[in-house]
Amino acid sequence: MNCRRALKKINPYLSDALNAEETRKLQSHLSSCRRCNGEFEYLKNINNMISNIDLEEEPEGMWDAIRNEIMIEQKHPKRSSLSDALANLNIYFASFTFSKHVAAAFGVLAFILLLAGGFLYWNQTRSLSTSDGGEYMEEYMAASMNDPLSDRIALNFIIAKAEEQK
């Protein structure tokens, strides 16, 4: 076994993923190659260090919290599926806790939309009332209420006005 192959096999060897034949070949290479053996020792040391992470003492009070929850559950054994679903929804929305940033972002967005809407409305009414089209529409709307020929009348009005300007 050459070094290139051996280096690839070291990690699987430590995970117990090699067959007997490969294991034997790797072991014989490691015993004769200092560099590969160094790599092997390094990785093995990582294993050891992880194994040596001590288990920590768990905090106080966990059992009380668990028992309380269980007691509540036992007192009201059958929750309807609807309230369960609502509880799940609650958990879901709980992850969307609205931070100040988001609230501010929504505020700004609403303000911008309001401004934009206002501007568009103003712009539209302005363009309608100043252009001939706007005048025509106004006349038409007003006249069509009681005169079926309002279309013609409004048109005539505009034509007359245009000629006047000439």
Binding site: N11, M49, I50, D54
Partner: protein, 204 residues
């Protein structure tokens, strides 16, 4: 002896399953350390680990009736823990992406790790040696918190919780070959990060 232990446990599980809280407390006492430490290493901070451990035991109690074979309780409870903590972590990540400055989070978890390290120091150690061991452990925990979550889980369960590969296969539902390759990849990532951090600290 082990057989007897098993029988006692089966008895406790049956009692708990019919609503006996005292019996369930015995089960809790037996498994709390394993579950808590697993959550701690997966989530990286004590607060989340505590909350998750509580939720896991509540889930376990509610689910006891659906457990078919009491002898498989050890595997079953780890499966619940594994699913739950992954849920919690992905929810946290989601929140993180949306709202929280990432740097703040990593600093917090680093502080957690550092404070947890203080417990590791035994007073009789030679101070210089202690410093190096301490430093290595800090780096190690940082590396562990940074590698791929799937690899981290397997490394924690196999090396810290000392669960056999065949049992891991039961817990995760993955074939043994996958478990082994995750062990290898996780170890490779750990080695790479460990080298990187050691060089970085060495240069400072």
């Amino acid at each position: 002896m082990a057989e007897q232990d098993g029988n006692v446990e089966v008895d406790l599980i049956r009692k708990a399953s019919s609503g006996d809280i005292g019996a369930f407390e015995q089960i809790f006492l037996k498994y709390k350390k394993r579950i808590y430490n697993y959550c701690l290493r997966m989530a990286g901070n004590h607060e989340t680990a505590k909350e998750a451990t509580q939720d896991i035991f509540i889930r376990v109690f509610k689910g006891l009736k659906s457990l078919r074979d009491e002898k498989l309780f050890g595997i079953w409870i780890m499966r619940i823990a594994s699913n739950h903590i992954k849920d919690v972590i992905s929810k946290k990540k989601h929140e993180l992406k949306l709202f929280i400055d990432k740097r703040e989070y990593t600093n917090n978890s680093m502080e957690d790790y550092n404070s947890s390290l203080e417990n590791h120091i035994s007073p009789d150690d030679n101070p210089e040696e202690k410093l190096i061991v301490n430093e290595n452990k800090r780096i190690l925990l940082t590396c562990l918190s940074e590698i791929n979550q799937n690899y981290r889980e397997i490394l924690i369960l196999h090396y810290i919780e000392e669960i056999k590969i065949e049992d891991l296969s039961e817990i995760t539902g993955l074939p043994e070959g996958t478990i082994k390759s995750r062990l290898s990849r996780g170890r490779a990532q750990m080695a790479e990060k460990f080298k990187y951090y050691q060089n970085k600290e060495g240069n400072q």
